[in-house]
């Protein structure tokens, strides 16, 4: 009963903040309400019995990714919509289409019976990390995926630096000469 009350409170906060993202005018307000939505989702993860995912959500999503997004919004000064409207005529078709899709999916979800399993394992930090880094024979091999993710993040960082740089090999001393 108490879990349901907590879930309803967190879900209302998450959906309200998501609606703020949809309707807000300035991207900075949208980013801040997106952070609120992500924090309440982290609470729901903890409530469902995956505190490790909740902590990673707070650290990586609400901490790192959204910090990067807010930073870029603040750096690009004219990030405001300006004279363009929030929604245009295309939205008239997008809204009913997405709502119809959601209705269909919701109908499919409700018509299939499933429930929580009482024997589900609580994803505590110790258990999740020991499953993730299990290198013994017969393990599921998540550590290989972990290494691949490391390479992906490194290459994404290199690509971001290469793209955001003005020109490859451009330095400050060169700028002074010009």
């Amino acid at each position: 009963m108490l879990a349901l009350v907590y879930f309803i409170i967190l879900a209302v906060i998450a959906v309200g903040a998501a609606l703020c993202v949809l309707l807000s005018k300035h991207p900075l307000y949208g980013a801040l309400s997106l952070i609120v939505s992500m924090l309440s989702l982290a609470g729901i993860y903890g409530l469902l019995g995956s505190p490790f995912i909740g902590v990673v959500q707070v650290m990586v999503y609400a901490g790192a990714i959204m910090m990067l997004l807010t930073f870029v919004i603040m750096v690009l000064n004219s990030a405001k919509d300006g004279n363009t409207p929030r929604f245009d005529k295309v939205s008239l078709f997008v809204f009913p289409a997405v709502i119809a899709l959601a209705g269909l999916l919701g109908f499919a979800l409700v018509s299939v019976p499933f429930g929580f399993n009482a024997e589900a394992v609580r994803g505590s930090v110790a258990f999740t990390s020991s499953t993730l880094f299990n290198v013994e024979e017969g393990s599921r091999g998540y550590f290989i995926l972990f290494e691949a993710i490391g390479v992906l993040l490194l290459s994404a960082m290199a690509a971001a630096i290469l793209m955001a740089k003005r020109r490859i090999g451009y330095t400050a001393s060169e700028k002074e000469e010009n």
């Binding site: 009963m1 349901l4 998501a18 990586v60 997004l69 245009d88 589900a120 994803g123 994404a156 793209m163």
Partner: protein, 104 residues
């Protein structure tokens, strides 16, 4: 009344719909990126909600996949924001309607 697994899925569906709506109908580049992030979050929630319907070791797999999703989302945000900076430098605009350089 107890917390049911279907409630979590309904919440994930609502958040996913709002994220898709934001990504498609808003015209500011940053809102498109934020909508994609919101949809990714909803998918993570759905994964965790479904993982709790299995017993034992199977329930751990559904909790580990969101970890990788979050890492991929971090890489996506990194590259996406670099592209936004690059396009903004060329076009001086964050309106997606102005990004029509590949129209031909």
């Amino acid at each position: 009344m107890e917390l049911q697994a279907i409630y979590v899925q309904i919440l994930a569906l609502v958040l996913f719909s709002i994220g898709i709506l934001t990504a498609i109908s808003r015209r500011n580049m940053f809102f498109v990126l934020m909508g994609v992030e919101l949809a990714l979050n909803a998918v993570n929630l759905s994964f965790i909600g479904f993982s709790k319907t299995f017993a034992g070791d199977l329930s751990v797999a559904g909790q580990i996949v969101p970890l990788f999703t979050i890492a991929v989302a971090a890489a996506e945000a990194c590259v996406g924001l670099a592209m936004v900076i690059l396009i903004f430098r060329n076009q001086e605009s964050v309106d997606t309607d102005n990004y029509s350089g590949m129209k031909g």
